[in-house]
């Protein structure tokens, strides 16, 4: 058995990394252990003390690197160590009426992990993602050096953009120890319109809305909205001053023929709290898992799509089944499929059944959760982005000792 190391300082992390480099001993980088990683330890409670016994490989957790390096409200920039939780960072910003406009999956995730997993959600198209707000980074590289890139300013083309290179890098290109972001004012008076639909005809109206170029903040649909039923619940969020909101509401209601109801985001009317409210900035996945009472090793597949594929009238219906729960962010776009089964064989069969449609949609897959036996080999070509072979070569170049254990980079190139 191996152990979890929780350094309290970046210097301690660097010293530990150098020991692993000297011994050529691979290890995995983790935050607070909130995320699923294929064929590794299952997610669970954070590593409270360090020294916990885990399966191979060793783990370096950044969860105790929680300092605020700077927060300049006048410049709307913040810099924190990578182990600060998403909830803590957003709370810090909220004190000044600001927000990091990204959609992490879990409030207890560290900001470093959310960044390294490139978490996103309802706001991706209209408010951006990590690529749109990262301005600086510090990480430990494959030579054990502590390196910096970017800085504290909102515009910067001085040298290569190593900040963005680490987005979605899944711990394979270094140990992220600190991040700097530009932040935004919180949305003004956010509201949402929602409505039930017996089938995916809502897509056609979303397509009309998209075509009409109405500046909404987010769109999310999911099904089944209520246990046992097969209906969709669609939510559309917007914000701004009263005149702006009235106009947007009018435009949307015209398209939906007045079928939608207005709620104030963040309120909990009629059990609709799983519509993305302000929690979209802190962690939007748990309420859905709770709603559907999903078991610990349920399957959660994030399918990355083009907007045109997400709005295609037949794609979603063809995937839908009684066992499947779905969440769609149709503009951007992504489709999350949840399967209420912990059985690896059932999960594999489900993934295989999706493949013809995924190929047709030119979709890619990310595993959000699964049975412990499920891994990248079950996703095949769908886990590999364009240029994957070069990405693998880059990993080998930046990690010549092969100490950053990250199975994403070890798939057979298709």
């Amino acid at each position: 058995m191996k152990h979890v190391f929780l350094p309290e300082t970046i210097e301690d992390a660097q010293a530990w990394l150098r020991e692993r480099l000297a011994a050529q001993q691979p290890f995995a980088v983790r935050g607070a252990n909130s995320r699923f990683h294929p064929q590794e330890i299952p997610p669970g409670p954070p590593f409270p003390k360090g020294g916990d016994e885990v399966a191979t490989p060793e783990i370096l957790s950044t969860a105790k690197l929680t300092r605020t390096n700077f927060f300049d409200p006048d410049d709307m920039v913040v810099g924190v160590e990578a182990g600060m939780t998403v909830a803590a960072l957003q709370a810090l910003l909220a004190e000044q009426g600001m927000v990091l406009p990204v959609n992490p999956w879990f409030a207890e995730s560290t900001i470093g992990a959310a960044f390294a997993c490139n978490d996103n959600g309802p706001n991706r198209l209209n408010m951006g993602g990590f690529r749109d707000c990262v301005i600086g980074i510090e990480y430990l590289n494959g030579n054990g050096e502590r390196v910096h890139a970017g800085g504290k300013v909102v515009k910067n083309v001085s040298g290569y953009d190593l900040c963005r290179m680490q987005i979605g890098s899944l711990g394979g290109l270094g140990v992220i120890t600190a991040l700097n972001f530009k932040v935004m004012p919180q949305p003004v008076a956010p509201h949402g319109l929602y409505g039930h639909f017996p089938d995916s005809t809502w897509q056609q109206r979303v397509a009309e809305l998209h075509s009409a170029r109405i500046p909404v903040d987010w769109i999310q649909a999911f099904a089944p909205a209520e246990s046992g039923s097969m209906d969709w619940l669609l939510g559309i969020g917007f914000s701004g001053n009263a005149a702006r909101q009235q106009r947007i509401e009018r435009e949307i209601q015209t398209i939906y023929r007045g079928d939608l109801q207005l709620v104030a985001a963040g309120e909990t009317p009629l059990g609709l709290s799983f519509l993305p409210g302000t929690d979209r900035f802190t962690g939007w996945v748990p309420k859905l898992r709770q709603l559907w009472k999903l078991p610990a090793q349920h399957l959660h597949l994030m399918t990355l799509l083009t907007t045109s594929a997400a709005l295609h009238p037949t794609h979603l219906e063809s995937i839908r089944s009684e066992q499947t729960r779905m969440v769609v962010h149709p503009i951007g776009a992504d489709l999350h499929c949840f399967l209420d089964s912990e059985d690896a064989t059932t999960q594999r069969e489900f993934i295989a059944s999706l493949q013809p449609m995924l190929r047709q949609m030119q979709a890619k897959l990310v595993l959000g959760n699964a049975a412990s036996a499920i891994g990248y080999s079950d996703l095949g070509e769908f886990a590999q982005p364009p240029g994957y072979a070069l990405v693998q070569r880059l990993k080998r170049h930046l990690d010549p000792a092969g100490v950053f254990h990250a199975p994403f980079y070890e798939q057979p190139s298709t």
Partner: protein, 503 residues
């Protein structure tokens, strides 16, 4: 020295004889980009007409160990397209095809030689535009924008080029053709697009770009705040942003530039003002009036003596034309100017603009200001006479001191022009040795032999000519030296007048 005969023959076979040039005038024309302080003649210039031709050309150079670099419209302002070490320029002007427009996915797929403004013009009838709008957008190409991660006035609200590109196809220095991204907004794995965009043509040569399209705003309101000090205008910038309002653009113009643009473009700026602040709001028509009233109030509360509102599109266009062509208008006041591109935290603007003025005074040079105030992206314009060697020397010193002030305030060397040749020696002031080595390790991955656009970004020695102080000299080794120079042109002035920027 022109192409060796076998190389020329092979290039002619690949691209056609008329697309391979190494005559003296061509080499002279390609010796610099928009920053003419740095020059070096290329070995030759090749104009491939397709990705297939480009791949063959790159493989040839790789095999023959010839260094090379891509070039768009040559409007760059950091010497990034100067052909150091006898490199061949691969001119990408023929890659100007608009491949596909997809309004559902809000993308347009284009060749790198497409002019920036052409993209927005192409989709304007459908209600969309491409956001990054550098001042050179009438001439600069999208390939150059991607290489430099260009910005522009409207990036305050919407972001820079990296925020508006979803996919790239590029040829690596050994001729391998690779693709990243696509029409998806997200894909598994590291953000390779983020790494490639802004790599200044040192990782690969871009052949295709998937750009995001953004809906045109239903309404734009342009306000002009009039101030009796630059410092006051800078204070207003922070006041507006701190209030939680993010305008589409906030641009500051000082009195020197006001005088220049009023002499040429006549936008109607008050000539007794010390500075004007252009603030533009974009949104739905409903509600924008309320936001505009708020901004107007904030401008007045922060010291604006007057606030004017563009009453129609014609007036708005006049204001923006004056802003975007202000660099050129400086020609009314000075034979040459040198533009800097440092960035500082926005809240430090008042202190830093005072320091910039003091640096100019120290060297007895006028420093004008026109910059992206909302981003803290400064563009001090150092006015000088290129015939005066001492002024040229002092211009370099002023530029360097300004950038060091930016770094001292927690800022950076460049917000949108890139490092190129110009600022590479200051990279050591910004980054530690380990940071720089880490970046160079990335270059070693993509560009292991260093033959793609050598001598850029990092403070390493190069054989490029730096024409400091002796601007009229043709560099030693220039193909013009020892050849027919009886064209009657004063070459130094030709460069100065053509570029309108600096010698």
């Amino acid at each position: 020295m022109p192409f060796a005969k076998p190389v020329r023959q092979e290039l002619a076979r690949i691209c056609g004889k008329e697309w391979v040039k190494d005559d003296a005038i061509t080499l002279y024309a390609y010796r610099s980009d928009g920053l003419t302080l740095y020059t070096a003649p290329p070995l030759g210039v090749v104009y491939p007409g397709s990705t297939g031709e480009l791949v063959q050309v790159v493989k040839l150079f790789h095999r023959e160990q010839i260094s090379f670099l891509p070039r768009g419209a040559g409007t760059g302002l950091s010497g990034g397209a100067v052909p150091c070490e006898g490199s061949v320029i691969i001119e990408m002007a023929r890659f100007k095809e608009i491949h596909e427009v997809d309004f559902v996915n809000r993308t347009i797929t284009v060749g790198p030689g497409v002019v920036n403004l052409r993209i927005s013009e192409h989709v304007k009838p459908h209600g969309y535009h491409f956001v990054p709008d550098p001042s050179s957008q009438k001439a600069c190409t999208i390939g150059g924008n991607v290489s430099e991660n260009s910005g522009g006035p409207h990036t305050l609200k919407y972001g820079v080029t990296v925020n508006h590109v979803l996919g790239l196809e590029l040829v690596l220095p050994d001729g391998e053709l690779v693709e990243f991204g696509g029409k998806h907004h997200n894909l598994p794995g590291p953000d390779m697009l983020g790494l490639l965009i802004g790599s200044e043509g040192t990782f690969g040569i871009i052949t295709k770009i998937v750009c995001r399209l953004t809906p045109n705003p239903e309404k734009a309101v342009t306000l002009l705040g009039v101030f009796d000090s630059v410092r006051g205008a800078c204070d207003a910038v922070s006041g507006i942003i701190r209030n939680g309002t993010i305008p589409a653009a906030m641009e500051l113009i000082d009195k020197t530039v006001i005088r220049a643009v009023e002499a040429t473009l006549k936008p109607g700026f008050p000539q007794d003002a010390e500075a004007v602040l252009i603030v533009e709001l974009e949104d739905l028509e409903d509600g924008i009036g309320e936001d505009a009233e708020l901004v107007e109030r904030l401008l007045r509360e922060n010291g604006a003596q007057d606030v004017k509102r563009a009453k129609d599109d014609a007036e708005r266009t006049r204001i923006w034309r004056a802003r975007k062509e202000s660099f050129g208008a400086i020609g009314q006041l000075s034979p040459s100017y040198y533009v800097q591109d440092g960035v500082i935290p926005r809240s430090k603007l008042p202190e830093v603009v005072d320091q910039i003025a003091a640096i100019g005074q120290k060297y007895n040079l006028t420093v004008a200001n026109v910059f992206h105030a909302g981003d803290g992206n400064l563009h001090p314009l150092i006015l000088f006479d290129y015939e005066d060697a001492e002024q040229v020397e002092n211009t370099h010193k002023v530029g360097e001191e300004i950038l060091k002030v930016c770094i001292g305030y927690g800022g950076t060397l460049s917000g949108e022009h890139g490092i190129g040749l110009e600022k590479r020696k200051l990279m050591g002031e910004l980054y530690s040795e380990a940071d720089l080595e880490n970046m160079q390790n990335l270059r070693a991955f993509f560009n292991p032999d260093g033959r793609l656009n050598p001598a850029k970004i990092f403070p390493t020695p190069s054989r490029c000519a730096e024409t400091k102080g002796v601007s009229s000299q043709i560099p030693a080794g220039s193909p013009l030296v020892g050849k027919d120079e009886s064209d009657g042109l004063d070459h130094a002035k030709l460069v100065a007048h053509k570029s309108g920027i600096a010698v």
